[in-house]
Symmetry: C2
Subunit: 209 residues, 2 copies
Amino acid sequence: MSNRTISNSVIRRLPRYYRFLGELKASGMTRISSRELSERMGLTASQIRQDLNCFGGFGQQGYGYNIELLQSEIGKILGLDRPKTAILIGIGNLGRAVTMHINFESKGFRLIGLFDSKEALVGQMIRNLPIRSTSTLDEFCRENLPDTAILCIPKKAAAAVTDQLVGLGVKAFWNFSHYDISLKYPGVKVENVHFGDSLMTLSYRITNE
Amino acid sequence: MSNRTISNSVIRRLPRYYRFLGELKASGMTRISSRELSERMGLTASQIRQDLNCFGGFGQQGYGYNIELLQSEIGKILGLDRPKTAILIGIGNLGRAVTMHINFESKGFRLIGLFDSKEALVGQMIRNLPIRSTSTLDEFCRENLPDTAILCIPKKAAAAVTDQLVGLGVKAFWNFSHYDISLKYPGVKVENVHFGDSLMTLSYRITNE
DNA sequence: TAGATTGTTAATCGATTAACAATC
DNA sequence: TAGATTGTTAATCGATTAACAATC
């Protein structure tokens, strides 16, 4: 593994490599060249070789890449083999869908707690996890030390919850709210999912292209 | 408006400008300089001025930008004032959450139809829209000519549905499935939302940084 | 061995940042 | 007018593509 810092562009392509290699593996293929992979993925062969060589030489001259080995290596680079604990805050439509829909285990996480401030929801089970009251968040975090928090709450609630969670040692956020965590906490790892921004981008393309 | 093509990086920043300007407007401010906006958003003032000048001179030397005017202009650039029609396919947890959670009108879209292949769901109402059978998709599209389809279906169902919709004249997709629409239809506008990829990116950062 | 394909360096392209003249 | 701040050009930085020697 190289000691150079990996660019964001490369990191964002890794999950897609991982997915495509998984499909190729499932289809029974065992090896692939950068050129063939590039055609299937709509990239250049050069870019694929550059990307992979950020992490080491996984290929073999004259042969290409072993699909199973390469996928497994990318999985390790992504940290999928080291489960990180996560809690989810806000069990509205979105929080519920995220809880039900995502296969956390295969993405490097283990979901260990669900929280909502509406007392009426407390005790309800989703996917074998009980919804807990946010009033018990402090206690739960001190006992279980979650690495990551998934925020499915409105922007106006997000600032206070983020302060609380950062104070409790949470160091990564999967942020579905519109609150900008990085501005206040530049050291914390944040991955934003902004549906609205994504949809407006599509609106732009339809309107202008 | 310039005739040069606008880079993807710029387009992706527009919704964030739009949001921030909306908040500033709501807070009662009327003008802002590129420097102050850059500090609030965590960008450089240079980048903001470059970005805005792709579309025209919205500012005034010695004064800065009028917040309300600038937000409104960016809204027009994004096409938020020209509603496009959209249908949503797949009313599982995710489709339901997207239907309930997103304010389509403020993002440039009007949601006009919901479809699912499970007959048990047909007729159920969500947000004043009935769930329709996918067997009526052809008829509905020929009558209503939707611009956009929102795919909340599994990968294995997505290929056939996409073929059908492209055949019916749908020219833009908001794609929550893992099916890669652009590879087969490079001319169609696609905005992908891949939760899994997003979460794996976060896993990478936690593991490696 | 000969052919294929990687790993890696060099060239190109594009995006961001800096600088400053124009001007409100 | 003087100060402030844009619009825009030039310089820098980073990412992608091309090329090819190394090697399986």
